[in-house]
Structures are given as structure tokens and as C-alpha cells.
Amino acid sequence: MRLLGSDVRCVRGGREVFAGLSFQAAAGEAVAVTGRNGSGKTSLLRLIAGLLLPAGGSIAIEGGETELTVAEQAHYLGHRDALKPALSVDENLSFWSDFLGGGAARPTADCLAAVGLAHAAELPAAYLSAGQRRRLSLARLLAMPRPLWLLDEPTNALDVAGQAMFAELMRAHLAGGGLIIAATHGPLGIDARELRIGGVG
């Protein structure tokens, strides 16, 4: 399967962010989207996720389940963690796994163990540190298999061990034929093709 973007143009608040952007990613490939602040890295991810409408051009996925949209085959990990402070770690993850997966999901205890949060399963999410919140969001990617991972600064707030753990998870995802598009400033920890937006900055 392949993700294809051709001549994508993005306009936010009446201002053109980028135009004429073409990219592609094949199965098992990671793309690191780089660029200075405000160059449109997050906008590009949200365009792919269908959360913004492109002002021009098209984004499509080839292969995969043809009746599903790009968004429906993707996991989106944004700046915001989509966690409810009133719910426990396990309740937060179970909800997303039920809501996104509809039954065929991996047990939540497994996913929590994979991101190193097994000991905190019963803790309300309000008490998690920033790094732990991030880890919990990463567990969501594992709970339900989706071929395309859209990651916005995924290693933010992760400690060194966390980054290594996440690099391992990304490698496993790519080895399973997945795709990763990640907006990042720092190194991702895996081999990734660079897609630079907005010239040299």
C-alpha cells in the first residue's frame, strides 16, 4: 500500500502555508516531515488525517481496504493527548480501543506493558506526568492496528528510555508493512526519509 500526495496546497486563516507539495510513502517506509516553526508540519498531518481540507491537490491511499478513507486507516497522535483526567489509565485506553477498534483490539494490559505503564493502570490519568501521558497515547497506537501512523512530535516529553522504546515500536510497525509520517525537530531514532517543507530555515 502507498500514501500519495500530489500538489497539495494548504491555506490557514486566509494565508497560504505551503503549495505544490507532493510526497509519497510506501509500505514499510517512514517519512520525517521537517521544517521551521510555522512551516505547516502539523497542518500537513491534519490534512492527511482529513481534519483539514486541502485548498488544492489530493491525498490518497493506494491498496489497503478500498472502501475506507485515509483517515479511517490512520492513527493520529497530535500535540494533545486525548486523555480524560477523570478516568483511569486503563479506562482511557479501553475506551479508545473499543471506540476505534470495535472488538478486534489487542488487550489493553498488553499495550500498557509495552509502553511501560503496566504499574499505573488503575491510576487516574490526572496524576500522570507529561511523559507518562505521552506513553499512554502511544499505547493507543498499539491497541488497534492501523496501517498509517500520523505522528506530531511523537518524542516530545519522552525520556531517553522512552524514545528508545518508541523507536522499537515504530520499527516493529514498519516491519509489519505499516507507514509512518512524523513531524519532528529531533531525530526519530529510526531510518526515515526526510520531507522538508518551506525551504531552508
Binding site: 488525517a49 493520529y76 494533545r80 493527548d81 486525548a82 477523570a86 479501553s94 479508545w96 476505534l100 470495535g102
Partner: protein, 222 residues
């Protein structure tokens, strides 16, 4: 169906936990209705006459009070993005959220009504009638209010906007809710006619609300 069930369970759970909105609505309802006899005075006949209207106004304001968090909470923490992206149609997800909101915030108002009826000198029949009309009418308030809540998502401090948008739309519900209650208490109109219209308004809002809310959420994405 698992997805919608999970969404309903999560929203109810959050509403019932500390800091959730479920209790706030009932407390507000209680406060408004308890204050009324003090404002109107100890005229029992007058209280009986005003009773249904006071209960309905209280319920309307109480359901508005918590509605503005229906989508903004999910928007602020990024959950709304994932809900929009998911394979569950957004219309159904909206309906599920509204249903959860009604169970957590609307149903307690109906349950509290008999207690408050005592304060307004309503007899058993009248209290039953008001509770029944609230049971039939409050879902309409939630599902109509959901449209305003969806429109207010992208704006900061959308709460006031919500009230301005939603209150005019809920006037028919208020009119027929109070009319049905009055009909049951003093007549001379039959109870059935206004009550049927109230039920019809609710059923209509079940259809219109989710589609309008989903459309405005999609349009307001940024």
C-alpha cells in the same frame, strides 16, 4: 455498536466522577426552584399555578448549563479529532454523546421533580404530569442544544453564544411542555394534544440534532 456503547459509557462515567457536570445541573435546578417561593411569596394558589412553568424553566436553564461542555471538553483535549477520524459515522457519535449527556444530566432533573413539586404546592397528579412532560421534553432540549454546542466548539467562551442560539429554538418545547402540564392540572384542554406535540418535537430533534451537529463540527474543524 461497541464503539457507540463505549462512547456512551465513557461520557456517563466522566459526568458522574468528581468535576463532572451531572450534579451541577441538578443542584442548579434545585436552587432555582427553591428560590422561587421566596421570590413569589407564600401564596399557595399562585405557586400551584406557576409551578409547572417554574419547573420547566428551571429544567431548561439547568440543561443549558452543562451543555456547553458537550463538545468543547473533547475539542480541548484532542479527543474530538479522533472521534471525527474514526470509522463510526460522526452523526451517530453525536447522537451517542447527546444520549449520554441526557442520561447523566437530564434524567436526574426528572427524578428530582417530585421532590421539588412539594415546594411548589403541586399535588401528586400535577407532579406526575410535570415529571412525565419533562421526561418527554428534556431529550429535545439536549438534542437541540447539541447543535449550539457544536457551533460553539471552535469559539472561546462559547457558553453565552450557546444560550443565545439554543434558547429561541427551545421555545416550542417550553410552550408545549408547560401547556401539557397545565392541561393535566387545571384543564380545560385535554392533556393528550400538547403532550403528543411535545413527543413529536423530541422525535424531530433526534433526527435533526445529530445531523446538524455533525455538519457544524465538520465545518468548524481547524
Amino acid at each position: 455498536m461497541t464503539a457507540l456503547g463505549a462512547l456512551i459509557r465513557r461520557d456517563i462515567r466522566i459526568a458522574l466522577r468528581v468535576g463532572g457536570g451531572a450534579l451541577i445541573g441538578v443542584l442548579f435546578f434545585l436552587t432555582v426552584v427553591v428560590l422561587m417561593p421566596f421570590a413569589v411569596g407564600p401564596d399557595l394558589v399562585l405557586l400551584t399555578r406557576l409551578g409547572p412553568a417554574i419547573l420547566w424553566l428551571g429544567a431548561l436553564l439547568a440543561s443549558l448549563l452543562t451543555l456547553d461542555r458537550l463538545f468543547t471538553a473533547d475539542h480541548e483535549d484532542g479527543s474530538l479529532d479522533l472521534i471525527v477520524m474514526s470509522r463510526t459515522p460522526l452523526e451517530l457519535a453525536c447522537a451517542a454523546k447527546a444520549l449520554a449527556h441526557w442520561i447523566a444530566a437530564g434524567l436526574p432533573l426528572v427524578v428530582a421533580t417530585p421532590v421539588l413539586g412539594l415546594l411548589l404546592n403541586l399535588d401528586a397528579v400535577a407532579t406526575g404530569a410535570v415529571a412525565l412532560t419533562l421526561l418527554a421534553g428534556t431529550p429535545a432540549l439536549t438534542f437541540i442544544g447539541m447543535i449550539g454546542a457544536a457551533l460553539a466548539v471552535t469559539m472561546h467562551r462559547g457558553g453565552l453564544l450557546l444560550a443565545v442560539l439554543v434558547l429561541p429554538l427551545s421555545i416550542p418545547v417550553l410552550i408545549f411542555g408547560v401547556a401539557a402540564s397545565q392541561a393535566a392540572i387545571v384543564g380545560p384542554l385535554p392533556f393528550g394534544a400538547p403532550f403528543s406535540i411535545l413527543c413529536a418535537l423530541s422525535l424531530m430533534s433526534f433526527v435533526v440534532g445529530p445531523f446538524a451537529a455533525a455538519a457544524s463540527l465538520r465545518h468548524g474543524l481547524d
